[in-house]
Every structure is written in structure tokens, then in C-alpha cells.
Amino acid sequence: MTSTSTDQTNVSKAKFRSTLTALGMLPVLVILAIGFHLLSGRFLSVNNLSIVTQQASINTVLAAGMTFVILTGGIDLSVGSILAASAMVGVIVSLWPDIGMLGIPAAIGVGLACGVINGVIISFLKLPPFIVTLGSLTAMRGIARLLGNDTTVFNADLPFDFIGNGSLFGIPWLAIIALATIVISWFILKRTVLGTWIYAVGGNAEAARLTGIKVPLVLLFVYSMSGLLAGVGGVMSAARLYAANGLQLGQSYELDAIAAVILGGTSFVGGVGSIWGTLIGALIIAVLSNGLILVGVSDIWQYIIKGLVIIVAVALDRYRLKGLSRT
């Protein structure tokens, strides 16, 4: 049904919709924050907000990588395990005298290498991302444990501990890194050729191929990016804890990252979504965790409530967008 006037409404509707998709869950975030403040009386204090942003930061970085992957219609289940292995390598390298700062590039390098391996298998051997990254989730967990002989590695004099515990002009470094990741991701997705290709591959992979886009290279990039950001997450974890444990660190982080992306309104089949939505999604998850603790909800109930909130929030979002898009 297209005449000039329908096009006109389509334009405003499309604009309205994209604004809403971008804002998507912002109202939920605000309501949660206010609600927790009313219940606990101290949620919106500067001190607590600083804690929330730090808690959100690692998940935000992982979720940014996950956004790239999900935008192409894929999934990366291995980020939690990659984070653990990267953190192990980071702490082990940091123990080398004088050149401990090399722990940062070493950890990020491990993440990148894992991502590249995922990407090569998925894009050139054309195996399903779910299976491939499920395999690397398990394998990388084993490697992370192997690296420390299944023990926790410590470094009380971690040379890059400022990342986990310091701040710049009062803003925690963790939050700065997370925000920088979001801004860079936004730039890649919305301002570069590569970003357009990512959306195109997710929207219609076969059409992308016929348009001359090298689809395997785009897929290689997104999984590499996700691995690299998992490596960054590993540095952030290690810096915060002065330690890493191959068994426990990063357990089920991939699920939080996926939840953040989906809460942020990115389509699970690819092609539609925004990095700002992911940021809001990650903040919602952090606000929930923090707020429920402040209110005094038990650990067990936190899981149940978080799960329900994710489902209800996404359901509301879909319902609302469906109402809008009906033509």
C-alpha cells in the first residue's frame, strides 16, 4: 500500500519507531532506579551509582561485542570463558618483573585470538555460531583452568590495578572503558562502511553477498571483535580482583551479555538494533542486581526476579512496537 501520503506517514512512523527502539528500555531503567531509591532510600546516592556503573562496566563491554555478533544474526556463547582465560593470562604475565604491564596486551591478545578462531570456523567452515561458540565455551573454560593449574592466581602488586579500582576526575576507570567501548562501537556501526555491512549481513546475508560484500570477512570481524572485547573484560576483571580463577571467573557472563543486548532491543535474527540500547540493557541488569541487594532480597530470589524482569521487559517492548508497526 504505497501512495505519497502513506509514504509520509511511513516516514514519521519509521522515525518515531527508531527513536522508540533506541530509547526502548530507558523508561524501565528510570522506573527501576526510582523504585529502588524509594524502597531503600539510598540507591540514588553518588556512592552507590558509582558502584552500579562499575558493576555494569564489564557486562557492558561484553555486551558491546555481543551486539556486533547478534546484529549479524549470530551468537557468541564463549565470551565468559574467554574472559576467564584472558584474565588468567593477564595476571600470570603481570607477575613477570618489570614488564608486568604487558599483562594488558597479553590478555587482550588472548581474547582476540580466541575470537579470530571462532570467526574463522564460523565464516570459512560455515558451521553454526551456536555450536561453534558452545564448543569454545567449554574448551576455553578448560584452558583457563589449565593455565593456573586449576588454582587461583594472585598479584597483590598488580601494575594495572588502577583500571579496576582507580578513577579519573572522580569517574571510575571501569566506567570510562565501558563508555569508550560503547562510543567506539557506535562509531563503527553507524559511521563506517564496515558497520553498514554488518547491518546488511544481518538483514539479508545472501543479498549482501550478491551486492559484493565479503560476508565471511564481516563475520570474521564481529567474532574477533567479540573475542577482543572479552579480553578487555578479562583485564577489567583481573584489575578489579588482583586475581583470576579459571573455574569461577566469568561463569554465565555470556548470558548477562545476551540479556543486555536483547533488553536493548536488538533483533535476535539480526539486522536491527543499536549499541545505545545495549548500554541501557546492561545498566538495567546492574541496577537490578544492586537494587535487589540494597532492598535486602535474598540471592535466590534475585535470580528469579532478574529472569522475570528480562522476560516481561522484552515482552512489553515487543508488544508496544508491534502496536506501532501495524499498518
Binding site: 501512495s3 509514504d7 563506517t192 547491518y199 543479498a207 536491527v272 499498518t327
Partner: protein
Amino acid sequence: MSEAITQSRIPVLEMRNISKTFASTKALTNVSLTAFAGEVHALMGENGAGKSTLMKVLSGAYVADQGGTVLVEGKPIVAGDPIKAKANGISVIYQELSLAPNLTVAQNMFLGAEPSNWGVVDKAAARARAEPILKQLGINFGPSQLVATLSLGERQMVEIARALTTNAKIIVMDEPTTSLTSRETDRLFEVIAGLKARGIAIIYISHRMEEIYALADRVSVLRDSAYVGTLERAELSAEKLVSMMVGRDLSSFYKKEHGAPHQAARTVMSVRDMADGYRVHGCSFDAKAGEVLGIAGLVGSGRTELARLVFGADRKMSGSVTLEGRELAIAGPRDAMDAGIAYLTEDRKGLGLFLDMTINENINIGIIGRDASRGGILNFVAAKERATRAIKSLSIRTPSASINVGALSGGNQQKALIARLLETKPKVIILDEPTRGVDVGAKSEIYRIIDELAGSGIAVVVISSDLPEIIGIADRVLVMREGRIAGEVLASSDQPISQEAIMAFSTGSASKVA
């Protein structure tokens, strides 16, 4: 228009004063439609005229505005309830078939209404009920066959069989022949005749004039969301229908000016011995600068497959492509595009467009790697200018370059896709069914674009199943049959390309060069 017939029978379907408003747009204005038992009532109109909206009101997918009523056998039915509509005997077969390919024919036929005992599906009952229906339709596959193994034509039969399981009184068919072979189309027509004989009313949406002649008892035309009129079978004429649909006459359609024969023209692309070892066998041809080369042949004769091999979309087994004297090494579409070959896919939604992306992005995506960007960073100004220019030169009707391409009508989507190809500055452009699913207005604009491209020295290759179309626009027609080029038909200065010659080659009743 003809009171005598209308009064003598009771209509099985009456849609009265149907209007439908979306936000501020009127998609239908006071449309009425009447159908009698045992008639084929064709519904025509350009894309966007309101046919689909009207049918969605009928099927219950949309609720019409206040004041409109739908009556089945004289009784009003509840608006906006697809399940009730079905129970009232209304069945709609959409262009995109809605079958589950992983299930059997019988499972599909009873999908959502499985015969069961206490929730356990009664497979024997389903088969027993399916078999007589399939037999009535003269179908030669069984109820336990997987739908995935059926051809498109056979799947359509399953859709019709499904409609019959619910005792449909009114069956709507939305361009049912779009992807059928001519044999399957004949088969469909036989089935439609059978349905008529059983007193079922068929509302048949189509753009194809010959189908309307073959089938329709009456034809109603919609234009710009409004009802224009209804013609009885005796009053049918192509000129009348076209002028009702567009308010223009037929002569402006194929406006190809057959100039001098292009024998002397320079050969731009030579394809030699192209084969995939499967559906294309040793095809060779030349495309010349400034000519429109048609490729005709029946569906399944290997036309699309040949084009995809030339473009590098599929892997070839043997064969070479030479462009302006240089043999190309084409490993994929990117190589072909870089060399100057562009290919318009026959499936614009499935393989061409990015429906969630804007017109601007869709037009620029083929070249943003180079022209519209600097060092990998998007140059929005250049891209916007380019898109705006393309929208203007191809007259794509849209208020803005920044709306999603999915919101455009079929014809405008097609033009946006052609715009993308033109931005790659091709020397050879292969258009695969460029006017499929496009309304008459957009069709003539696409013909104009093809003429202009040829005029500017590009070699244009047009694959088409529409014989009058290919005869109207091509200088020379290659006819494919069973993966080979069966013959070539030329236009001479005093005689146009003959439809008979093309048919003779494509059916195998003539051999080699006419």
C-alpha cells in the same frame, strides 16, 4: 454494471462500503465487491491500488472502518477475526505460500485443526480425510509426502486442498501463477474450473491479462484506493482494463524504438561454454554495446542459473567471461562488479534488498566501500546526494531517501535496486525478470530505463518470462531450453521478433537459429 445477472442469483459474498484508514492515510474508500457462487471474479489494479488491503479486510486480518460490512450468504460476519472468517468459508491463499515445508501434505492441510482424540493426533483420520480431497483435485502425490519435496505448483495445490478441508465457499488467490511453470499454470486453471463447478466463488488477483481472459467471469478494478468499475466477461478488452487501471492507454507501454540493427555494434561481453554441470550446459553468447539482449525460455530452462554463473554468484564448472577483450577471473560477485558486470536478481526481497535499511543505504551499499566513503568512514553527504540524484533520475516515488526501502511499493523497490546497480557504473547489466510483481505504471518506467541504459552504450541483458515484454524491448532474443541456448531470434527492420519463433525454440519444436 449488468443488473440482469446480479439479480438472478444470491451473492455468496458481499462487501459493502469498505473503507480502511491507517493513521492519516485512506487505503480504501467505500469499496464494494460482490461475488457469486461458482464464478471467478478477477480483481485488478496497480500495486498499491488497495487489492491486498481489501482482501485482508475479507480474511479478518484488518478491521474495516465504521460503516463497512462483509456479508457471507447474506449474513454479516464478525469483522477482524481470521478464525471466524475461516469458519464462514473464507479462505485466502497468499502469494507467499504459508506451508510448513518440514511437515507432510496431510499435516499441512489440517494445520491448526488436526483431527484428534483427547489431544492425540489421529493420523489415520487425517489421511482418510485428506485423500478424497487430493483425489478431487487430481493430485498425484499422497498425503504423507513431505511438502519440502514438492514443486511450487504442487505446494499451491496443497494450499487449495487446505482451503477445501474447511469447506471454503470463497477462495481468494493472490497472484497464484507468479512462480509457476506454464504446465503448472494450466493445471491450476483446471483445478479452478473444478472449484467453480462445485459452486465455490474465486476471487482472483492478477496482473496478467491472458490469465484474466482465460479465467474471469467478471473483473473489478481498483485504482488509488477506490473502486473504478466491473466488467462482464463479454465486455473485456485489454485496452479497457488498462485504461481503467491507469487512466492511460496501452500503446504507451512498449515504446522501444527499433533503430538500426546492432550487428555492427562492438561486443562488450563474450561468454563461452558456461556450464555448472547441473542446470547449465555449454552456453555461449555475446552482448553488444547499446543493445538489449533478451533471454527467453520456460521457467526452469536455466536462464537465472546462467546469469548467476556469469556474475559469479554460483560456482561454475567450466566457461569463460571476456569483457572488452580481457578474460575475467571471477571468483565471486565482487569481482564481477569490479569488472563492470551488474546483476539484478529475480527475487528482489529475498536476494536483493535490505528491507530494514533505508533507500539511501540500499542504493549506496554496493559502492560504499569505495566511492561514497573516505577511508572506511561513511561520507553521508556524498551518499545522500547520490541517492537523491538516483531517486530523481529513476523517478522513485518516495518523500525521502531516509525511509526504509521495505515501505515502498514493488515497482519503486525495483527501481531502488536498479539504482544500486547503476551506481557501480556497469558496462553490462543483467536484469532478471525486472518487471516481476511490478504494476503497469512502474513497468513502463522500467522499460524507459532499459532503453536509456542501452542508449548510453551499456549492454543490457534482460531475462523475462513475459513474451510480449521481451519482444517489445529486446533487439535480439536468445531462447534457452534445458540448460542450453536453443536458438536466437532477431528483429529485422520490417518485422518484429516473433512470439511463435521463441515458443518453438523453448518447447523444442524448432532447432537452431531462425
